[in-house]
Symmetry: C2
Subunit: 232 residues, 2 copies
């Protein structure tokens, strides 16, 4: 029996391409593969829920998310969604983490391809601007979430604040490197500089998205040049 052949049928809509279908397997390896598949499918489902939650959160806010709302949006049962997250808070935190992970991939990592110093600082700002430009349509969880959670404590607020702090610290480090490289004046206060740059991004989001002022992107870019000129 140990070497009997078992034919596996995969129900996952998109099985990974590296495992051929209908492959002949021993029972033991089949069992292992079956468990792996179940876990993978579970991960895929969880990822699909987070994806839907991310889209919803940018429209209705993190506070608008609930197991019920997500069940409706993903056409799953409440208990199905609950099995993946366990609580509304856990769902909200997963969304914050996913949002931050995408932010890192779009804004932070590509800038590491640029040389240390001012080229990297400019790439960070430019990538941040590109992301904000997209979010002028969809909204930004770091901004709307700050308004939702600025008057309460708890793990969701902490996850959100930690993400923003991590990003601002990365910006600070890049500015510090630019100072070390001699691209910025030795008396540059990089925390001050990061604060002023953060202000430009917030003003862009506010004036373009809420007030619908069309040249806000140009103003933010000009503001960045003004800040750099002061510290060079």
């Amino acid at each position: 029996m140990q070497n009997s052949t078992i034919v596996l049928f995969f129900h996952s809509p998109m099985p990974p391409l590296d495992v051929p279908l209908n492959r002949k397997l021993t029972r033991k390896s089949a069992l292992r593969l079956s468990v792996t598949r179940t876990l993978q499918k579970g991960q895929q489902t969880k990822q699909a829920i987070v994806e839907a939650a991310l889209g919803l959160a940018s429209q209705i806010g993190l506070e608008g998310l609930s197991i019920g709302v997500l069940a409706e949006a993903t056409q799953m049962s409440k208990s199905g969604v609950f099995a993946h997250f366990g609580s509304r808070e856990e769902l909200q935190i997963s969304v914050v983490r996913e949002y931050f992970s995408r932010f890192e991939q779009e804004v932070f990592y590509p800038a590491l391809n640029e040389p240390r110093g001012l080229p990297r600082v400019k790439a960070l700002f430019s990538n941040w601007m590109k992301r904000v430009a997209v979010e002028l349509q969809s909204g930004c969880i770091f901004i709307s979430g700050a308004v939702e959670f600025d008057d309460r404590d708890g793990p969701v607020r902490d996850a959100l604040a930690d993400s923003v702090q991590t990003w601002l610290q990365a910006l600070n480090r890049a500015l510090q490197q630019a100072k070390e490289c001699g691209h910025l004046r030795p008396d540059t206060n990089e925390s001050q500089m990061a604060f002023e740059i953060h202000g430009l991004i917030l003003a862009l989001h506010y004036e373009a998205r809420f007030l619908k002022i069309h040249d806000s992107i140009a103003r933010a870019n000009r503001g960045f040049d003004n800040i750099l000129a002061r510290y060079q």
Copy 2:
């Protein structure tokens, strides 16, 4: 009968101090006074509801306001609140107007006592900072409201956006005057300057209120000095 005396009893908890109680009046003047009193009392009640709504809106947002919530907060009947506002939207707009009126009184009007030019610009910023410092505890409707209403049209969004635009235009005018007075360089772009100043206020609110970074007020003040230095 025309000159018969009528004794009026005021039920308002705080009658104005300029009219003595139990004053003897003619019927005609008594009727006029009675109508005035009713209107005044109506105004007082409406004002008390707006006051309660303003406090609530800074905690739960403009979107959290409803006739029902206000009735509970003011211990009035829903129909009583409804009699003064007629709709949730009208209530929200009244709150925006009241908020703006206070903003004007605290930030804008006192600055008019300063001479035109840089002294007035500095007073506007300083008064704005004082107000934001208070709102680090209570929240700011111009900021939270922008997040609530940035993805929808309608009279509440318009009232909110008009208020902020009016304020930003006043700031722009003060900067323009400073340029005309020769306090700022002739090539100063006052819209750009106002955008950058707005960014400082938004960064202060975000970093102090949400991230709880303690030296944000100093950073905003330093940022303002940096902006001024660039354009002088």
